[in-house]
C-alpha cells in the first residue's frame, strides 16, 4: 500500500526507490531493487511498447544491415565489441573496456538478467523457453519469420526449425481479420525453403470458435477468453483434431489469456500434435499477458505498481529531490532516495517531439543520436531515411539519452547528471530495437543492472 502524507504543503509519497515506467525495463529494475527489502514504487502513466509486443523476448537478432545472429550470446558479444554507444556495449564496460572483454562482460550481464527474468516468470507460473546460446525462429500472423531468443512455451513450440521434414497446419478463424491462415500458410511455404527448412507440407484450415460463429471483427482477446473456458476449449480441441489430419504441428493465433499453457497442453493432448501460438500484432494477447505477469511478479516481490501516475517533471539540485506526479485530479510529490528512469521511447512517452526537435520528457536530459551527436538543434526529419523500413532502421528510433557503465544518465559534459538517477530500456540511445530485434534483451539487461545499482 502507498501511504500518502498529507500536509498543508500538499500530498507526498515517500519511498526508497521510484521507478518511472512499468514496462519490461521498469518492472525488472523495480523487482531487482526490491530484492534488498527496499520500498519500491513503479509509477506508470498507462502503457508503452512492452504491452504491444508480440510476446517473445528478442535479445540480439541482427547486426544490421545483413548479419543474422544464430545465437543471442554471439549477438550480444559482437554488438558489445563493435557497436559504439550500444547499451550492450555500455553494460560490458563501455569505451574504457577492451572490445573482447566488453563482449564477455556484457554477455555475462545479459545472461544474469535473463536468468532473473526467466526464474521470476516461472515463479508466477509462466514458463519461458529458449537460451542465449541458440536463437529461435518464430513466425507470426503474416507468415514471415524472425530470430528471437526466449519465448513463452506456448510460442516456443513453434520454433520453425522443428518443421523440417514434418507437416504443419496453420489454423485460423473466419472473421478474425488480423490473421488469415490461408495467406500465412502460403507465405510460410515460400519462406521456409529460404531458411533451409523443408517441411513435408504447410497447409491451412479454418475452425469455428463456439460462440463466435458467423462473426466478423473478432478480436484476439475474444478468442483467448473463449479458450480459457474449458467447455469451449474441448470443442476447439475436437475441431482441431478434425482439421489436423496427420500433421505433427498446429499453429493457432492465440491460446488464452488466463491459462495459456494449460490450454495448449489440453489441445496438444486432444490432437496428438505439437500445438503452438503465433507471435502476434497489436492488440497482442501475449504482450498483454507478459505485462500482467511482470506486474504480478513485481507486486509479489513487494513493489507497489501503480498505473494512472503520470510523471510531470522533477525537482533537483545535484540529485533528484522529488517528482511531481499527476494522479487523477491531484498533483502528488514523490520523494525517493533513488530514481530509475525507464520511461520508454516515443510510444512509452520517455521521448517526445517538441517543435521538430527530440526531447526527453521529464528531466530534459540531453538526447543523442546513436553515433553520439547531440540532438538539441537537429531537426527530427533529418533522422529519417527515405525508405520506410530501411536496413538498420531509422536513426530516429535509435536516439535517446546517453548513460555511463553504471547506467547513470550523462550531461552534455559527459558526467552523470544526477547522483541518484539511473536509466534503463528504450529511453537509452544507441540501439534500434526494430532493426536489431533486441528490444526486450536491452530492456531486461539494463533494467536488471539499473535496479542492482540503484539498490546498492
Amino acid at each position: 500500500m502507498i501511504h500518502y502524507q498529507i500536509s498543508g504543503g500538499g500530498t507526498k509519497v515517500k519511498v526508497d526507490v521510484c521507478v518511472i515506467g512499468a514496462g519490461v525495463a521498469g518492472l525488472t529494475a523495480a523487482r531487482k531493487a526490491a530484492e534488498k527489502g527496499l520500498k519500491v514504487l513503479a509509477a506508470e502513466k498507462g502503457s508503452g511498447a512492452t504491452i504491444q509486443s508480440s510476446g517473445v523476448i528478442d535479445v540480439a537478432g541482427y547486426l544490421p544491415p545483413n548479419h543474422m545472429f544464430t545465437s543471442a550470446s554471439e549477438g550480444v558479444r559482437t554488438i558489445a565489441e563493435k557497436v559504439k554507444n550500444h547499451p550492450y556495449s555500455i553494460i560490458g564496460g563501455g569505451k574504457k573496456s577492451e572490445p573482447e572483454r566488453r563482449g564477455r562482460e556484457s554477455e555475462r550481464n545479459v545472461r544474469r538478467a535473463l536468468d532473473f527474468f526467466v526464474e521470476g516468470m516461472k515463479s508466477v507460473g509462466v514458463n519461458f523457453r529458449g537460451s542465449l546460446d541458440e536463437n529461435v525462429l518464430v513466425t507470426n500472423f503474416l507468415g514471415t519469420f524472425k530470430p528471437t531468443c526466449l519465448c513463452p512455451s506456448t510460442i516456443y513450440n513453434g520454433d520453425l526449425r522443428r518443421l523440417d521434414g514434418s507437416s504443419l497446419v496453420l489454423v485460423g478463424v473466419k472473421g478474425f481479420p488480423d490473421y488469415d491462415s490461408k495467406f500465412c500458410a502460403q507465405s510460410l511455404s515460400d519462406i521456409l525453403p529460404c531458411l533451409g527448412i523443408k517441411p513435408k507440407s504447410v497447409s491451412h484450415a479454418y475452425i469455428d470458435v463456439p460462440g463466435l460463429e458467423g462473426r466478423g471483427d473478432i478480436l484476439a482477446i475474444e478468442i483467448a477468453r473463449k479458450m480459457d473456458d474449458p467447455q469451449v476449449l474441448e470443442k476447439i480441441g475436437q475441431s482441431l483434431q478434425k482439421v489436423a489430419g496427420s500433421a505433427e504441428h498446429l499453429a493457432i493465433p492465440t491460446c488464452g489469456v488466463q491459462s495459456p499453457e494449460e490450454n495448449i497442453k489440453t489441445l496438444a493432448e486432444a490432437t496428438g500434435a505439437n500445438v503452438f501460438e503465433l507471435a502476434s500484432f497489436p492488440p497482442s494477447v501475449p504482450g498483454y499477458r507478459l505485462v500482467k505477469s511482470l506486474e504480478n511478479l513485481a507486486q509479489k516481490a513487494g513493489v507497489s505498481v501503480r498505473r494512472g501516475y503520470k510523471i510531470l517533471d522533477a525537482k533537483f539540485d545535484k540529485n533528484v529531490k522529488s517528482l511531481r506526479v499527476e494522479v487523477g485530479r491531484k498533483i502528488v510529490e514523490i520523494e525517493a532516495d533513488v530514481y530509475i528512469l525507464a520511461s520508454g521511447g516515443f510510444l512509452g512517452g520517455g521521448l517526445k517531439e517538441e517543435k521538430d526537435f527530440i526531447r526527453e520528457s521529464i528531466f530534459n536530459l540531453p538526447v543523442y543520436s546513436s553515433d553520439g551527436i547531440n540532438l538539441e538543434e537537429v531537426y527530427l526529419e533529418k533522422l529519417l531515411s527515405r525508405k520506410v523500413f530501411p536496413k538498420g532502421g531509422h536513426q530516429l528510433f535509435s536516439c535517446g539519452i546517453l548513460v555511463d557503465e553504471n547506467l547513470q544518465p550523462l550531461s552534455e559534459k559527459g558526467e552523470p547528471m544526477y547522483g541518484n538517477l539511473y536509466a534503463a530500456g528504450a529511453i537509452l540511445s544507441g540501439y534500434n530495437y526494430m532493426a536489431e530485434k533486441s528490444g526486450m534483451g536491452v530492456a531486461i539487461a539494463t533494467g536488471y543492472l539499473a535496479g542492482l545499482k540503484a539498490s546498492s
Binding site: N66, N140, L142, P177, F183, D190, I191, G216
Partner: protein, 549 residues
C-alpha cells in the same frame, strides 16, 4: 510483342479527371474507346488536390471562366451527388495590408452563386465570423462568407472510368504508353506496356486523346510533337479530423492565398505554387513548403500547430505555357489542342491547362472535336446521366437495419458508393466475416475492399486507398496494412512475395507523405508501425530474403 489488329476510334491516354471523363463521353456516344492509365486512376494531379470544385470564386477576373465553372458545379451536384459535399468557407481578412489589397473584381460572384444553389457572398464582422468558426484568431479584422462544393477526386476519376467501361470502353490501369505509332503525318496508335505482366502490345486507333496532364509533353514527344507546358507544383498538409468546422481562407505570408478545408474526416491545408523544370515524377514536398503553409494559416487559425499532422502530398499542375506572369495571374482555363491544325500531325488531340471542376466540359469539347473529325453525330449526355452510385437514393438507416451493420459504417460506405451501397453490403450475406472492419480510421470493411477489388479496377493496397480511403486516417495504414494484404492475396490470387511487396509499396507510399513532417502523436504511431512491420514481421530484411538463388 503482339498486335491488336482491331482498331479503336479513340485511344485515351491518362486516367485522371480529363482522361477518364473523355473516355466516358466517347464511350457514351458510341465510339469504340480504350482508356490507358500508366498507374491508377486519379493517382496523378487529380488526386493531389483539395477536391474543391469551385464555382469560380478565384477567377473573378475571368467572367467566362466563372460562368463555365458554375454550370459544371451544378452538373456535378447531380451526376456525382454521393461524392459531392458542400463546405461553408470563411475568408478571414487578417490585417491592414490584407484589407488594402482586396480590390473589387470584374464579376459579381453573387449572380452566379444563386445559379448553383449556393449562398451569396456575405460580409461578416469579426465577432460574427468567430461565432461561426470559434477557432478564428481574435486579431482578424473582417471576414467574408461563401460556400463551395467539394468532391472526392479519386472516386470521380474511377467512376468516370467505370462508366466508360459500362458503356463498352476497354479500361486499363497499370498500362503505360511507351511510344506512339506514327506513320508519316498521321498517328495510328500507341505501344503500351502492361506494368504488371510486362507484356508490350500495339494498340491501333483513329484518334489518340492525350489527356496525360503534366505528362502531356512526354506523350506528345513520342509523336514527334513539341508541346511545352508550364509545370507547377502544389503541396498540401493533411491534418487529422476537422480542425475547423468550416473552411478558412486567408492571405499567405507571401501575399498569395492559403486555405484550410475540412475534407471528410481530415483537414487539408494548401497550397503552394512552384514552377518545376524537372520531371513531374520527381516532385516532392519540402519542409519549407510545409512550414510556409502552416505559418501562413496560423495567422487566421492560431491553434493549427496543435493539430495532428498525418501526412503531406504534392501534385503538379499542367498549366498553359504562359510565362512572365505569376501562377495566380495565369488562367485556369483549358486549351483543347488539335495537333492537325497546330502541328500538322493528324490523329492526335490533347489538353493543356484545366481544372478539376471543368473536367466534364473539357471532355465534352474533346469528344465533340473527335466526333466531328470522325463524322459522327452524337449528343453529349455526360451532364445528364449519373455516375455509378448517383442513380438512386441513399437510406443509411434502412440499410443498416437490413444488413445488420452499424449505422456509422453504412454511412461511410454510402459516402463512397452512394446508391450502390447495397451491392457492397450484399457481400456480407453469404460471408458474414466480410463485415470485419479492416481500416478502423475510415470504417473500411472487408466487404467494401472485396467489392472494390472485384468491380473498381483496384489491384493493390494503394489502389484501395484511392477507392475506399484505406489507410488514409491518422494511423496511415499501420493497422490496416497487415489485415488488408491477406484479402488482396485471396481476391486476386497473388503469390505471397507479390503481396508482401505490395504491402511494402503501400507502406512506402504512406511514408513519402509522412517523412516530410513527422510530429507529435505521429512519431509514436510511426514507432508502432516500425515495431510491427520491421520488429515483428521483419519487413526490413525480407526483400533480400526473397532473393533465392
Amino acid at each position: 510483342m503482339f498486335c491488336l489488329k482491331e482498331e479503336y476510334d479513340v485511344i485515351v491516354i491518362g486516367g485522371g479527371s480529363s482522361g477518364a471523363g473523355t473516355a466516358r463521353d466517347c464511350a457514351m456516344r458510341g465510339l469504340k474507346t480504350i482508356l490507358l492509365e500508366r498507374n491508377d486512376f486519379g493517382s496523378g494531379t487529380a488526386g493531389a488536390c483539395a477536391g474543391m470544385i469551385s464555382g469560380g470564386v478565384k477567377y473573378l477576373d475571368e467572367p467566362e471562366m466563372v460562368e463555365l465553372c458554375t454550370k459544371e458545379v451544378v452538373y456535378l451536384q447531380k451526376i456525382a451527388k454521393h461524392i459531392v459535399f458542400r463546405l461553408p468557407i470563411i475568408t478571414a481578412i487578417i490585417n491592414e495590408i490584407d484589407l488594402k489589397a482586396r480590390t473589387s473584381k470584374k464579376t459579381d460572384y453573387s449572380k452566379y452563386t444563386a445559379l448553383r444553389g449556393a449562398s451569396p457572398i456575405m460580409l461578416l464582422s469579426k465577432e460574427e465570423a468567430r461565432k461561426i468558426e470559434p477557432k478564428l484568431s481574435d486579431k482578424i479584422l473582417l471576414a467574408a462568407y461563401f460556400d463551395e462544393m467539394f468532391i472526392d477526386p479519386f472516386r470521380l476519376c474511377m467512376l468516370n472510368a467505370l462508366s466508360a467501361k459500362n458503356h463498352g470502353a476497354v479500361v486499363r490501369n497499370y498500362t503505360e504508353v511507351i511510344d506512339i505509332i506514327r506513320n508519316g503525318d498521321r498517328v495510328e496508335g500507341v505501344i503500351a506496356k502492361d506494368k504488371r505482366t510486362g507484356e508490350v502490345e500495339e494498340i491501333y486507333g483513329k484518334f489518340v486523346a492525350n489527356c496525360a496532364g503534366p505528362w502531356v509533353s512526354r506523350i506528345s514527344k513520342m509523336a514527334g510533337i513539341d508541346q511545352p507546358l508550364r509545370l507547377n507544383k502544389g503541396s498540401h498538409v493533411i491534418f487529422d479530423r476537422r480542425v475547423t468546422g468550416v473552411g478558412v481562407v486567408c492571405r499567405a505570408l507571401d501575399g498569395r492565398s492559403v486555405y484550410l478545408f475540412p475534407h471528410f474526416d481530415t483537414t487539408v491545408l494548401g497550397t503552394t505554387a512552384w514552377d518545376i523544370f524537372g520531371s513531374p515524377d520527381d516532385a516532392e514536398t519540402s519542409y519549407d513548403d510545409v512550414e510556409y503553409l502552416i505559418s501562413s494559416i496560423e495567422v487566421a487559425v492560431p491553434s493549427i500547430r496543435e493539430a495532428r499532422v498525418i501526412r503531406t502530398m504534392c501534385g503538379v499542375r499542367p498549366m498553359l505555357p504562359e510565362w512572365w506572369i505569376t501562377e495566380d495571374e495565369a488562367t485556369r482555363n483549358f486549351k483543347l489542342v488539335d495537333h492537325e491544325e497546330r502541328d500538322g500531325v493528324k490523329g492526335i488531340v490533347s489538353f493543356e491547362g484545366g481544372k478539376l471542376v471543368i473536367y466534364r466540359v473539357m471532355a465534352e469539347k474533346m469528344t465533340d472535336l473527335i466526333c466531328k473529325k470522325l463524322g459522327i453525330k452524337a449528343e453529349c449526355r455526360t451532364h445528364i446521366e449519373p455516375l455509378p452510385g448517383a442513380e438512386g437514393e441513399v437510406d443509411i438507416e434502412l440499410w443498416s437495419e437490413e444488413y445488420n451493420m452499424p449505422t456509422h459504417t453504412v454511412g461511410r460506405i454510402a459516402s463512397r458508393h452512394g446508391s450502390n451501397t447495397p451491392e457492397v453490403l450484399k457481400l456480407t450475406r453469404e460471408n458474414p466475416e466480410y463485415k470485419s472492419t479492416i481500416c478502423r480510421c475510415e470504417s473500411v470493411t472487408e466487404a467494401e475492399i472485396r467489392y472494390s477489388l472485384r468491380n473498381e479496377f483496384a489491384t493493390s493496397l494503394s489502389d484501395l486507398r484511392r477507392r475506399v480511403r484505406l489507410g488514409m486516417g491518422p494511423c496511415q495504414s499501420t493497422f490496416c496494412n497487415f489485415k488488408a494484404l491477406a484479402i488482396i492475396a485471396d481476391e486476386l490470387n497473388l503469390n505471397p512475395e507479390k503481396v508482401h511487396k505490395d504491402a511494402l509499396d503501400f507502406a512506402q507510399e504512406r511514408w513519402k507523405g509522412k517523412c516530410v513532417l513527422l510530429r507529435g502523436d505521429q512519431v509514436s504511431e510511426e514507432e508502432i508501425n516500425q515495431a510491427i512491420y520491421a520488429g515483428v514481421a521483419n519487413y526490413d530484411t525480407l526483400p533480400d530474403f526473397w532473393r533465392r538463388d
